[in-house]
C-alpha cells in the first residue's frame, strides 16, 4: 500500500509549475495516470522511484517511509525494490537481450523466469542479439521483460506498450493482468490510450498542471456526462472501407469517421443526434 503526499516545484514548458499530489494506492491496485504531457505524470513516477527528490511531504510504502521531509528520510532507488519501464527503454546497449535480463535478475539466476519472459514477449529467437538490432516494439517488450524479471512489488510503467501492434499489446496487457493478480503487485502506469487504461487499470487519476483533476474507475472516467447535439448531414462518402460523413452543427462543418455499420445508413440532408463526450485532457484553449 502506497500513501503519498508530496510537493515539488518543476520547470515546465510553460514556466514553473507546482506539483501537489496526495494519493493512496492499494497493494493489488492498478492505477492509471492520465493527462496531457507536462502534467507531472512522469515526475510522479520518478519521485516514487527515488530518481527525483520532492521538495516536501512524505511517501510511505507498506508502513516504511521512503521519503519524509520532516524526518529527513529519502531511501535511495536501490533500496525501493520497484520496477520502472522508462519511456526511452534504457536498455543496456552492450548486452544482448538475454544478458539485459540476466543483469536485472538478482541476486541469483532464475533461468526459468528468464525463459518464461522471453517466451511471453516473443523475444526467444532474438535473445542473443543486441538491443540496437531490435525494432522499436521489440525494444519496448525487452524493457518490460527486464523490469518483470526483477519481481518488483511495485511496477511503474511509463507508456509501456505504446510502440506495439494491437495483437501484441492485447497479449501483454493480459499477461500483466495475470501476473499482477498472481504476484499481488501494485502497478502505476502512464498511458494515453483509453482502451489500454480500461483493460489494465482499476482507477484512473487525471492530472493537470501538477494537480489531481479527477479520479474514477475507468468505466466511469471515460463515460463522461453525455450531451446530445443535433446536426445535419452534408455529405457521405466511402473510402477504403471507412465512411466519412460531414455534418453541420452549431454553424460549423465537422468531418466524422464512422464505421460502415453507422455510415452506410446516412445520406445528405438527414438530421441526426450526436452524443458528445469530452475526454479529460483533450480540451485546449485557443
Amino acid at each position: 500500500m502506497i500513501s503519498l503526499d508530496i510537493r515539488k516545484r518543476l520547470a515546465s514548458a510553460t514556466g514553473e509549475m507546482q506539483l501537489e499530489l496526495a494519493l493512496e494506492v492499494a497493494q493489488d491496485e492498478c492505477l492509471a495516470l492520465y493527462g496531457e504531457s507536462g502534467a507531472g505524470k512522469t515526475s510522479l513516477l520518478r519521485m516514487l522511484a527515488g530518481l527525483m527528490k520532492p521538495d516536501a511531504g512524505h511517501i510511505t510504502v507498506a508502513g516504511q517511509a521512503w521519503y519524509d521531509s520532516a524526518r529527513k528520510v529519502c531511501l535511495p532507488p536501490q533500496r525501493r525494490g520497484l520496477g520502472f519501464v522508462f519511456q526511452d527503454y534504457a536498455l543496456f546497449p552492450h548486452m544482448t537481450v538475454r544478458q539485459n535480463l540476466a543483469f536485472a535478475l538478482h541476486p541469483r539466476k532464475d533461468e526459468p523466469l528468464i525463459a518464461e519472459l522471453l517466451a511471453v514477449t516473443g523475444l526467444e529467437a532474438l535473445q542473443h542479439q543486441k538491443p540496437a538490432t531490435l525494432s522499436g516494439g521489440q525494444q519496448q517488450r525487452l524493457a518490460l521483460a527486464r523490469t518483470l524479471v526483477q519481481r518488483p512489488r511495485i511496477l511503474l510503467l511509463d507508456e509501456p506498450l505504446s510502440a506495439l501492434d494491437a495483437a501484441m499489446r492485447t497479449h501483454l496487457q493480459g499477461y500483466l493482468t495475470d501476473i499482477q493478480h498472481s504476484r499481488g503487485m501494485t502497478i502505476i502506469l502512464v498511458s494515453h490510450d483509453p482502451a489500454e487504461v480500461q483493460r489494465l487499470a482499476s482507477r484512473v487519476v487525471a492530472l493537470h498542471a501538477g494537480q489531481i483533476l479527477r479520479q474514477a474507475p475507468p468505466a466511469d472516467f471515460f463515460r463522461a456526462p453525455e450531451q446530445e447535439l443535433s446536426a445535419e448531414v452534408e455529405s457521405v462518402r466511402e473510402e477504403g472501407g471507412k465512411w466519412w460523413v460531414t455534418v453541420r452543427m452549431a454553424g460549423q462543418s465537422v468531418a466524422l469517421e464512422l464505421s460502415a455499420e453507422e455510415g452506410s445508413h446516412l445520406q445528405a440532408g438527414d438530421r441526426i443526434l450526436l452524443a458528445v463526450s469530452v475526454l479529460p485532457g483533450s480540451i485546449r484553449r485557443v
Binding site: 534504457a90 543496456f92 543483469f103
Partner: protein
C-alpha cells in the same frame, strides 16, 4: 645509440597513464553528475595544465618540494621521499600535467550517456560502482581509449616541466625529449634523428590505431 631515454619515456608515460586512469575516473564521475556550485572551480583547476606554461608548473613544484625547507624537507626527512630531480617526482608532476587529457574524455563520455542507463541500473538495485563498471564504462569505450592514448602521448611529449624539476640525470630523469635537446646542443645530429624518428613513428602509429578503432574500421573483420 643509448635506448635508456626512450625506455624511460615510455615507462613514465605508462605509469602516469595507469595511475591517472584510477584517479581521473572518480573525478570525471563527480564532474559529470554533480550539481555542486564548486563544479566550475574544479573544472577550471583540472583544465589549468592546458593553458599554463609547463615552466610555471615546474617552478612551483620545485619551490614546493625543494628538500631545503617546508613540505619537501618534511618528506625528505620523515619519509625519505625526494620529488625533485627524481623519477618519482616526474611521475607526480606528470599526473598533474596530463590530468585534463584523461579527465575531459571520461567526463564527456559519462555525460553523453543517457541518464536513464544509470537510473535503470539504480532502480535494479545496482550500486554506483557496479553501475559504473558494468553499465557505463562498457558503453564509453571510445572515450576511455581516447583518454588513455591522449594521456600517454601527452606524457611522452613532456619537455619543459621535466627540464624544470627533473634535470637530465641519465636513467633517472633524462627522457627522450631531453635527450634530443641535449644531442642537438652537442651537435650530435644522428642521435637526435634516431630519437626523433622513433618518437614520430610511435606517436603516429598510436594515433592511427585510435582513429581506426574509434572509427569502427576493425569491426567489419569481427562481425
Amino acid at each position: 645509440m643509448d635506448l635508456t631515454p626512450l625506455m624511460l619515456t615510455f615507462q613514465l608515460a605508462l605509469v602516469t597513464t595507469a595511475v591517472l586512469l584510477v584517479l581521473a575516473l572518480p573525478l570525471a564521475w563527480w564532474l559529470a553528475t554533480t550539481r555542486s556550485p564548486l563544479k566550475p572551480i574544479a573544472e577550471a583547476l583540472v583544465s589549468m595544465p592546458l593553458v599554463l606554461p609547463p615552466t610555471v608548473l615546474g617552478f612551483y613544484f620545485l619551490v614546493l618540494f625543494s628538500p631545503a625547507d617546508g613540505l619537501g624537507l618534511w618528506l625528505d626527512r620523515w619519509l625519505g621521499i625526494r620529488l625533485v630531480f627524481s623519477f618519482g617526482g616526474l611521475v607526480v608532476v606528470s599526473l598533474l600535467y596530463s590530468l585534463p587529457f584523461m579527465v575531459h574524455p571520461l567526463q564527456s563520455g559519462l555525460s553523453h550517456l543517457p541518464a536513464s542507463l544509470r537510473e535503470a541500473a539504480y532502480v535494479m538495485g545496482k550500486s554506483p560502482l557496479t553501475t559504473l563498471f558494468r553499465v557505463l564504462l562498457p558503453n564509453m569505450k571510445a572515450s576511455l581509449l581516447t583518454g588513455i592514448v591522449l594521456c600517454f602521448a601527452h606524457t611522452v611529449g613532456e619537455f619543459g616541466v621535466v627540464l624544470m624539476i627533473g634535470g637530465s640525470i641519465p636513467g633517472q630523469t633524462r627522457v627522450a625529449s631531453i635527450a634530443i635537446y641535449e644531442a642537438v646542443e652537442a651537435l650530435n645530429y644522428p642521435a637526435a634523428h634516431a630519437y626523433s624518428l622513433i618518437l614520430l613513428g610511435t606517436s603516429f602509429l598510436i594515433l592511427l590505431a585510435v582513429y581506426l578503432v574509434n572509427g569502427g574500421y576493425f569491426k567489419r573483420f569481427w562481425t
